[in-house]
């Protein structure tokens, strides 16, 4: 998008937006400080001599900091804007480190940390600090043409917004859950059970809905005017845009297609996701956590769901949106989308690993001119390692879970055989995706079972 303009022009273009961006951030913090101060919620952080520093003062200082950045960003001149840009060293380091592995494992680890220390992260000031930092990160990075190109692409702007929205709602739910968990630990009722005053449909609910409707319509109109629809050249059956991306909400699936055959990643796994979500009410025996936010009372359900949603769905969407470039190669945040980037990806099937590299033999192959039945037998023989591995995965692990884990044994006793089997198999199917990803990264595994003759690859 900005590829054709030189750096100075690009900075000119971006500067006016960036100036207002920082002013908005300053206003945001100023209003927060004012609200704290007026609301009588200011707390003393520390004292230096006769001066007391309160949290209201802290956010005022942050507001002034952003206010200082605004004119620098607004200037549009290269030496001044260097002050409000990410340092080059950081950018290079980030690009060098980033890859599918670092990204996926990193986001998983970050989410795990956020989850384990949720008591700390749901504090309002921590969340506010996090919000400020992420805005600051965006602002500092957007002076990089490559970062700006992917973030300001009309396709991607709403996704940036969605990330913040998702973060906010996840934070909100977690905060409520943590509060409730503390109350429950103290033997009190959850907040929702205490404050269940009913309100009227008319006018309260209807008015709220009406206001939302009007506001959203206005937003959509503004959006439609401000950002042009990302139309591309006329479609042609022989020319695929490069990179060619699915709609954003399917980018997780597209990422899955990198690791799986189309029928698996496009048909089987999505159906399993839907069927599995539908099965939850039938396999869930935990009666607690009904009608109020809680994590501790249904930790298993919560962790599994958030793993599936945040790790296996959202982070893959983010990766597909921002980090996949031409030829579906991985590009760091500050990396130019180079069509000729070469990433060695020689992938090998499990059968090849087993027969050729492991046993040092030829792959089993039906003799010339044999019938279809014999050929099929040979194919099955060839793919035997993968088939056995998968059957073992699905048949050995569920009983092993019951035998070796007290937690799952309890579950088994409560759920009964069928429900437990359904649950564990859904779990194992879900686990297949990260397992396959790790196998691909660590030893270039292409397929466990590769019956390409019958379009059956797994």
């Amino acid at each position: 998008m900005h590829g054709h303009v030189d750096h100075a022009t690009f900075l000119q273009q971006i500067s006016s937006f960036l100036g207002f961006y920082y002013i908005a951030l300053a206003a945001m913090n100023g209003i927060a400080a004012l609200a704290i101060w007026r609301g009588g919620r200011s707390k003393t952080l520390f004292r230096v001599g006769p001066l007391t520093f309160t949290n209201a003062l802290l956010w005022t200082v942050v507001a002034f900091f952003f206010l200082l950045m605004a004119p620098l960003a607004m200037s549009g001149s290269e030496p001044l804007m260097r002050w409000v840009s990410m340092p080059d060293a950081f950018k290079h380091a980030a690009d060098a480190v980033m890859g599918p592995v670092a990204y996926s494992l990193g986001s998983f680890l970050i989410l795990a940390v956020l989850f384990s220390f949720r008591k700390f992260f749901v504090k309002t000031w921590v969340a506010w600090l996090g919000l400020n930092l992420s805005f600051l990160f965006m602002g500092l990075s957007i002076t990089d043409p490559d970062f700006a190109a992917i973030v300001t692409k009309p396709d991607n702007v709403p996704i940036v917004g969605l990330i913040f929205l998702l973060g906010f709602f996840t934070w909100l739910a977690t905060a409520k859950a943590v509060k409730n968990d503390e109350r429950i630990a103290r033997g009190e009722k959850p907040l929702e059970a205490v404050d269940n005053e009913k309100i009227l449909v008319w006018p309260d609910l209807v008015y709220t809905e009406l206001i939302c409707m009007v506001a959203l319509t206005a937003l959509l109109l503004l959006w439609g005017i401000a950002l042009q629809a990302p139309l591309e050249e006329p479609a042609s059956s022989v020319k695929t845009p490069n990179p060619s991306k699915a709609p954003w909400y399917f980018l997780g699936l597209q990422e899955m297609l990198v690791y799986y055959d189309p029928w698996m990643a496009g048909v089987v796994l999505p159906s399993v996701v839907i069927v599995g979500l539908m099965a939850i009410p039938y396999i869930d025996f935990n009666r607690r956590g009904n009608g109020y936010y809680t994590i501790n009372e249904r930790k298993f359900a919560y962790v599994i769901f958030q793993f599936g949603f945040l790790v296996l769905w959202v982070t893959l969407i983010v990766m597909g949106t921002f980090l996949r470039g031409p030829n579906w190669n991985f590009f760091g945040f500050y990396e130019t989308w180079d069509v000729h980037k070469v990433v060695p990806m020689n992938n090998v099937d499990l059968s090849e690993y087993f027969w050729i590299r492991g046993l040092g033999r030829e792959m089993p192959r039906a003799p010339e001119g044999s019938g279809a039945g014999l050929e099929l037998l040979y194919i099955l023989w060839r793919e035997a390692p993968g088939i056995i591995l998968l059957i073992g995965y699905f048949t050995v692990i569920p009983p092993a879970m019951v035998v070796y884990s007290k937690f799952f044994r309890n579950m088994y006793l409560k759920m009964g055989l069928i429900r437990f089997m359904v649950m564990s198999h859904l779990l194992l199917l879900m686990g297949l995706l990260p397992i396959k990803m790790v196998c691909r990264w660590s030893f270039d595994l292409k397929y466990f079972i590769a019956i390409k003759e019958y379009f059956l690859n797994f």
Partner: protein, 382 residues
């Protein structure tokens, strides 16, 4: 008026009622009469039960409203110098918006306790039942039996509705209670049956001559007999049209050409190791000259990724076909080596035509994994 979002339910109700009251003033007299004053010993007599507003049932809220209204009606009627009731309730002297929850509750309780004459047990098991007596007494207009004509308030509408029978789901117990007296009444006096309306009388018996209309006549009768039939028939017809449209959708309006044979020039203009990409846009094929299994040959690769069918690009610098969708890569000979593509690209049949040009036949495909690349039709040796 107090701030909207700081108002409690009671206050909102009170405010609504105040608005209603504008039209209600004409009916203030009956409303004042329909709410006999509460006995003087009200809030003090009953120990405060300490109910929170959130625990109030609908009946209680309504009762509170009603009690309060009595107070207001009393005030307004005294303004109009209408005869007032003897003992005014204690609490509702205040403006509704100034009343505390306790006061409203007290008023409600006072109102509720009023019909609880000694004949009836004071503690009733069901809130619905306890609300009933209050409801029964309310909608009787006192002044000359004149019905109030102005807009009714929620409480009186609800009360009127409840007077006959309880709306909504009825428990077995309740049903038995209400049905028993009805049955007893039915035994004593049978109400006169209304005469059957015309459409209920069997048509054939009354008009035997009509039966000559026969099959089609009755069919029309079935189809257009009633509004219900018309509705269902038109629904069925619409569905049928949709179905037909859907079936039509399966046969798009396209020109199905026979798989084309086309000429791609003379073989000697293609240099060794060259990939001709100019036919990709029109025919979806690359013409490649390359060595495969020791034979220098020309073959036609189909430009469709074997993963999910995107169109890969030929990258001259890297000497490979690369798919933009999920990153599958293919060597020049079409063998897949990276990304998720499970099998090599396919070849089309290629021959030398009579005039010495290469001719590609898209109707035949050759797949490497099936061992078809040895077929002499799949390449032209150079």
């Amino acid at each position: 008026m107090p701030d909207k979002d700081k108002m409690s339910v009671e206050e909102i109700l009170a405010a609504c009622r105040k608005l209603d009251g504008g039209g209600d003033t004409s009916a203030s007299q009956p409303s004042a009469a329909e709410e006999p004053p509460a006995p003087a010993a009200t809030p003090a007599a009953e120990p405060p039960s300490g109910k929170k507003p959130s625990e109030m049932s609908v009946e209680e809220i309504l009762a509170a409203a009603r009690a309060e209204k009595a107070g207001r009606g009393e005030a307004s009627s005294s303004e109009a110098s209408a005869p007032t009731s003897a003992a005014a309730p204690v609490a509702p002297k205040k403006k509704p918006s100034e009343m505390s929850v306790e006061e409203i509750l007290a008023a409600a309780r006072a109102e509720k306790s009023r019909p609880a004459t000694p004949a009836k047990p004071a503690a009733k098991p069901k809130p619905a039942a306890s609300a009933k007596p209050a409801a029964k007494s309310s909608p009787k207009p006192a002044a000359g039996g004149k019905k109030p004509s102005g807009p009714l308030d929620t409480a009186s509408i609800l009360a009127a509705a409840r007077k006959g029978s309880k709306r909504g789901p009825v428990s077995k117990e309740e049903a038995a209670r209400t049905a028993a007296p009805a049955a007893a009444k039915a035994g004593s006096r049978v109400p006169p049956m209304p005469s059957k309306p015309d459409f209920l009388r069997p048509a054939a018996k009354s008009k035997p001559a009509e039966s000559r209309r026969g099959f089609f006549g009755s069919l029309i009768g079935i189809v257009f007999g009633s509004a219900m039939a018309v509705g269902f028939v038109s629904l069925a017809v619409t569905q049928l049209l949709w179905l037909l449209g859907f079936a039509r959708f399966m046969f798009p309006n396209i020109l199905i050409e026979p798989p084309s044979k086309f000429k791609v020039g003379f073989p000697d203009v293609i240099g060794p190791g060259q990939v001709v990409t100019k036919f990709k846009a029109q025919f979806g094929v690359w013409i490649v000259r390359n060595e495969y299994e020791g034979v220098d040959q020309i073959y036609a690769l189909r430009s469709v990724c074997t993963h999910l069918g995107c169109t890969p690009n030929w990258l001259e610098a890297e000497q490979k076909f690369k798919c933009p969708c999920h990153g599958s890569g293919f060597y020049k000979n079409g063998i897949n080596f990276e990304g998720p593509a499970p099998r090599p690209l396919e070849r089309y049949a290629i021959t030398i035509a009579d005039d010495g040009q290469l001719e590609v036949d898209k109707s035949r495909k050759f797949q490497q994994e099936l061992g078809q690349w040895n077929d002499p039709q799949s390449f032209v040796p150079v």
